[in-house]
Subunit: 358 residues, 4 copies
């Protein structure tokens, strides 16, 4: 173990003071493969101790305040000074658009939480257990853009609990159409994010850009790796997104039409039986169960299930008949862990295991 | 006005101490056509002043505490003693199953909030603006059962915001398939109803019996009045129901396939243009707008819209393209008013206007 | 009535797009004495229709969206162009510090919701039923500052439910010491104000500056009008302030030591018997009961009581023995109405009735 | 370790299906000193598998569902059949009044979460770090009652965060008067407990019996062990209790008058420096820090602090001047862990270490 620690790969977190940034710090400050070497943020924070630069907003389930590295000095997001083989980006869309390519060009493998490049044709969005093969698009990206590094994205947090079980069902039966209605937690909007005045005791049936992301990313994730791009899957996806007064945990009610109209039992059996091929890599952040299939009639629930398996599992329950599309189920993910910070760390681990950087 | 007051029809409320009962009392204690003559409840409450028999749980927007009739003495639900032409039932399912027929046999027109008889073939469930014609089934019900009175039901609260706009669209285009995902307020479960420990900061993706009700009642409401029964509409309805930490106001995300695949604009125009034929009766509890069509991208919302028009409007917004079924929209109703107490009073008014009792 | 409408006094709202500004607009757009002539806001909003300049955040209980005056064009807060005898300021502290004196110098009676000048020695803070006499300080203010107009402030929202009953008890017995612990609603912080991520399912035991305000304003409100300033009352006030996940309604647990240690019954009787002398003016926004004394053991409560009497009453309940200070009680106010918008309008009405402007 | 496991003392949980019972099961199913041998509950549950007898209501932070012992068969609370040296009682008051003495008579050391015997003169209520010496009252209890076992109680959950820091201050300075205002989580009322309809977006300023408990238990906890009873401390305690929409974590705003009026710095130093003498026993459930003193101006908070140190710490913050009593501070405890299940386990460990049973 001392040996493996000795070889840890230095990494940086861009946007380390934000909520996703804090979650990345919490995970990376105790990571067996990666060494948290740089905490980067805006001008305002640069030069301060991390503990002074931001108020820690995570509960005790995420470990010590400031990840135990509150004494590290925050740096600017400058690729000329922060030379790390691995860079986690929790930047907002606008700065991400400029800085992520700069880091990639400078040689960093950029694992991005931002949406800036998700739909770029040569940028893969990756859920390791679902579409590990898409990572190879990085080679084409490097070739086409002349980069030594690369940009890889995680999907939008709401896409994760939809795409993963759909991937299993697509492999088993073939997906023909998808209808998804989300009930999303406020942490998905970051901090300060959603005003309490807007959401206490309320539901808001609209989140800007969210339905488009869910519709487009799902077919990209379930698409096929072509020579120079992902060829998106061809089934239609319809999304309706809602914000609800929940702190963590996005629920999605999913209906799906499958080829051959399999029975509810067959669908449940397929979900139950599935195990990801990534298990072979023993990735440090991979949960014991990537997909937890619940049998209780009222599960999954954000409060009872989102944090289980360190927030890294996708939960599915209530697999049942849909009178219109054939099959429906409830899906849940911890939007800020598997759906954001943890999800990023996991595919970075996969990329490392495949030798894509380091 | 003195004249009309002189002619007011005596009515009783069964289950007057519960939450729906309290809302009925609030509406009927100041009603221009009906006179609140009897407050009935269980043995435990009978003989007490209404103000002593129950804790008033409604806010100031529903008028004075105990409807201003806290001095009335609560009676038992005994049809032999409570002889009223009009009876509102806010009973639980089990007592409703026994007591509602007893009152109907004794001559009362029973407007029921319970689900006990909703699916009986000769009992209409009525949203006045949608299926006023179904009220005539009462004549057949009297004939078949030998009753002088009758039982009429309101639909389940979640069905209301789905069925009303669908009725408009069915008339304009023809409905072929419906997918509905609800986000329901806790008041739908009455008091004490949902434990705070279960719902604070949480979503529960299951409400017992709710999905079946929504699926079955929608096609009954949009059905055709046959000789002896309602002939249910034939399109499929798929429902997924969730409880959310909201006090009042059920949201439903609805997707619908319409005959001829009309454009979003055509659908919005049909909803905008619709006016109910019941307007001619000038029913006292009818809202100025039975269907409010919102254009703001983030409306309707429970907190901002449920109470408007005295809680009696159905709200529709976000009419847009659904990639799977063609059209989707968001619908909202005040579940405890239009969806329960107010909805009952409204069709009782319609029945009165049509001379079905009194 | 036509006559009185003909004579209505033109007024302006500064900061009309914020939450308090919206509540002022809701009240003033239908006011019998004042005419809403100018909606003023920052550069960003100036020149836009009011309905385009801000999203309306009030529920139906506050009347139509945008107060029904969504077509008015928003102006800049420029005293050279907006010449109104009466100006309501819902500005933030910093702009208030500059703009309120400018309007006062230009001749406007400025009714301010801001804290900028509350502790100035020649500026009264007024709860009409409590310290109407303090309004006369305006004459000294004009003399000393050479203004034609004036600045008058309302107290901080949390001070209102503490100071009003204390004023009654001070007159009846004499107050010797006060301990106040608040549980404050999120609307007290405006919009966006409190992040949902910070307050959902949580309590924050700190609100910057709030305890100091409560301690200092209470003794100023219960002070005596001297020649050139208010002479603060001399008893100590201890405050502890908390934010809780409630939308509207500040609760305060108050303990008080009274001269002569009167009995609980005597204290309750004094509160019950009290009627404000301002009743003689028949102010349009004055509630039927300025002080509602509850006898139910679990009242007042924000959800059940804050909105009653149009949000303009102070509620007191649970008058009982305090083992340390002698008497304790629970107090409640609608922080955004009586505690902010409505409170401002009410003392402006009093000032008008006393001929201080117009 | 095998050796220590071999010696584990069998224990029973009475009321194992309730919320506190579940938390006891979660702790005891992985306890190094005690062996969870009997799960007892009402007739209704007896004979069922534990997993079938109750719905597990704890999140993943409390370990596996049903404590991993869902296959155990629930027994009736019958002392004739359940002979265990150690019995944890999470019974309601009424059954506790009858069953706890029966188990004590039969020889069990009963660690009770109920309030039935807390104020009995020969029953100690124990917070190990505060009043370990009171445990010796068990010997007098056995003598007087002729029991082989004993009953020991934990204080009410709200008393814990008040009494522990007061104990430190009493030892350092002497307490003269205490004023406590609580903001209590809903889990304190068990399940179903508080109706969501009553508490969502609301504050209830009354919890039956709670203020009396807080006032009486605090002086018993800080009292002196006499020959046959605890001699209560003589200072007055005033309590005002509120329910707030928080799941776990009771906050209390405490003001205290100390002998000699020490400075804020002196008080903070005393709290900071204190370490419990129980540390010597290395009790398995004792937190690293029994009293966490926060320096951040807005801490402690239920969401960020209640679960830390496995929910076993008392948190104190905002130590500052009180204008009336001299010193005030904010205190927080996880009401359902240190305040209930964990607190019970901890003093049972202490009693074991002192050889009071086993």
């Amino acid at each position: 173990m001392t040996q493996s620690l000795a070889k840890r790969i230095p990494c940086a977190v861009l946007g380390a003071t934000g909520v996703v940034g804090q979650r990345l710090v919490a995970r990376l400050s105790r990571h067996p493969w990666f060494e948290l070497a740089h905490l980067c943020a805006s001008e305002k924070s640069a030069g301060k101790r991390y503990a002074d630069a931001c108020e820690w907003r995570l509960g005790p389930e995420r470990g010590p305040a400031h990840g135990g590295v509150g004494d590290l000095v925050v740096e600017r997001c400058d690729p000329a000074r922060v030379a790390a083989p691995l860079v986690f980006s929790a930047l907002d869309t606008e700065p991400a658009r400029e800085l992520e390519p700069a880091f990639a060009q400078a040689g960093s493998f950029v694992a991005s939480n931002a949406s800036a490049f998700r739909m770029a044709s040569d940028v893969p969005i990756v859920i390791p257990e679902l579409n590990a093969a898409h990572l190879d698009l990085v080679l084409e990206q490097r070739r086409a853009r002349g980069w030594r590094g690369a940009i890889v994205c995680k999907p939008n947090c709401t896409t994760v609990p939809v795409a993963l079980p759909l991937g299993v069902l697509d492999a088993a039966f073939g997906v023909e159409a998808v209808h998804a209605t989300s009930l999303q937690a406020v942490s998905g909007a970051g901090w300060p994010g959603v005003s309490s005045l807007d959401i206490l005791g309320n539901v808001v049936p609209f989140i800007r850009g969210e339905e488009e992301k869910l519709e487009q990313e799902t077919v990209k994730l379930l698409g096929r790796l072509g020579e120079r791009a992902i060829l998106a899957a061809s089934f239609p996806v319809s999304a309706a997104c809602h914000r609800v007064p929940v702190e963590n945990g996005h629920m999605v009610a999913v209906s799906v039409r499958l080829r051959g109209a399999p029975s509810v039992d067959a669908v449940r059996a397929a979900l139950d039986a599935w195990r990801p091929s990534t298990l072979e890599h023993a990735l440090p952040s991979a949960p014991a169960r990537a997909l937890v299939v619940h049998s209780a009639e009222n599960r999954p629930q954000p409060k009872l299930d989102a944090e289980s398996h360190d927030g890294m599992s996708v939960h599915v329950g209530r697999v049942r008949r849909c009178a219109v599309l054939g099959i429906q189920f409830s899906a849940l993910v911890h939007n800020a862990e598997r759906g954001a910070a943890g999800g990023n760390v996991l595919y970075a681990e996969l990329a490392r295991a495949r030798g894509l950087f380091g």
